[in-house]
Symmetry: C2
């Protein structure tokens, strides 16, 4: 596999970890400091900072430090492109099923059809 990580790789990878989903969940309700993010999590601050780094690298989260506190917030764009990827797959799958359905209706217009002719 290549070393270059496409945006979607990073976004889905980031969302694959339950700790990071909790962080995103928290941030979807509004900005938070690193310690606030860490508070419900049963791990060291250090680990949380590392998760945050993954979230930032994925583009899902942005943060800025003022004084000694770093304030984090979600970056909706990355979340949106992950969502879009999925919904596009769903769309193409649904289109296919529609065509299939249409074909079946056309071929066999009634349930238990009498043999034609």
């Amino acid at each position: 596999m290549l070393n270059y990580q496409a945006p979607l790789d990073l976004a889905f990878q980031a969302l694959a970890d339950p700790t990071r989903r909790i962080m995103v969940e928290r941030l979807s309700q509004g900005p938070a400091s690193v310690s606030e993010l860490a508070q419900p999590l049963d791990m060291t601050l250090s680990a949380v900072v590392q998760h945050l780094a993954v979230l930032e690298a994925s583009g899902l989260v942005r943060s800025e430090k003022v004084g000694r506190v770093r304030t984090c917030r979600i970056e909706p764009k990355a979340l949106h492109s992950a969502e879009r990827w999925i919904s596009e797959r769903r769309a193409s799958w649904e289109r296919r099923l529609d065509r299939l359905g249409a074909f079946l209706v056309e071929t066999e217009p009634t349930i238990k059809p009498r043999r034609k002719k």
Copy 2:
């Protein structure tokens, strides 16, 4: 972290790999055999089978073998629950921004407002 993998972990983890996304993309256009899935991929069949196992474990794909060919198809439910998780986060984030917007409008009804009173 626990050893138990929540469904969302597995789904996002599965989607995090570009090879597996290609496979899902292919399957969203319709069922395919393992070799058909492997055809555009630059790796051994063995590796593809292993990716398929990940996709099946995540619930994103289902397959059945008849004769010597295994036919794979996507399982929309898992894809849908991943999509839903994201859209729910987005919803809560948008609600918050709406409230914030309303608050700002209420507090400061005009741009560059004249000082009240």
